[in-house]
Point group: C2
Chain length 125, copies 2
DNA sequence: CGGTATCCGAATTGATACTG
DNA sequence: CAGTATCAATTCGGATACCG
């Protein structure tokens, strides 16, 4: 069986799921938006090392996949807010599982894991 | 927090997990080896479109990550068998979750999903 | 503030041919 | 049978500069 969406072809739904969350900065974006609505500049601060082009690209892809929403407020200076959708929230338990597995793989104590680098200390799970 | 393994750097354990299962053919390989031990040529038959170079590369990476084992039998003609490890088996429930989410994303009935293309009809889950 | 546009190097994937 | 080697094509990721 072959699956298709948005002109892309998958041999297995797992591939499709990985295509949605597999971008370089997407896990970090999803962790960040899991709790809060955030502005572009806030995301950029929470994700060290990302540049505007890549952050924009990954946000637009997640938006196109129905995982998050982008709301533009017609003000000066402009304000744009990103929020996770209900559908996007269904990814969070899977991310938790991936996080736990990844911690095992890395040989670290899962309880010591701060999922999002800039959210350490906010408490886990 | 920054995590390191094999010279690679991750900002989050999720990235590490995705690095392990995120290769283009890896989900298919893992489904295939989830049930059975298989030879190289069997895998190649089960995964349409892959060429020997890519299949070799992805298998070696999964082996290096401790997800599967590679056993060479010193016979003529040569025989090489690949099998999932106990650690690799811990990925399978996560793959199931990714598969279910991917089916939702693709807008198809999860019950209709055959996880591995060439294993359709063997029964699901 | 929240982006685009351009250019570029690095990494990934693939087709094809050959080998112990 | 189970790969390697080589080369080509594509995609991805990033630095920098500019714009409404």
């Amino acid at each position: 069986m072959i699956y298709t969406k948005n002109g892309k072809t998958y041999h297995c739904p797992v591939e499709a799921a990985l295509d949605v969350i597999g971008g370089k900065w997407k896990p970090l974006i999803l962790w960040a938006l899991g709790d809060d609505v955030m502005r572009f500049s806030e995301l950029q601060k929470m994700i060290p090392g990302v540049n505007t082009k890549m952050l924009t690209k990954q946000l637009r892809e997640l938006e196109a996949d129905g995982v998050l929403t982008r709301t533009v407020y017609p003000e000066v200076p402009p304000r744009v807010e990103y929020a996770i959708t209900d559908f996007g929230k269904t990814l969070l338990p899977i991310m938790e599982a991936l996080c736990a597995w990844g911690a095992q793989y890395l040989g670290i104590d899962d309880a010591a894991v701060s999922r999002c680098p800039t959210k350490a200390g906010k408490g886990k799970a």
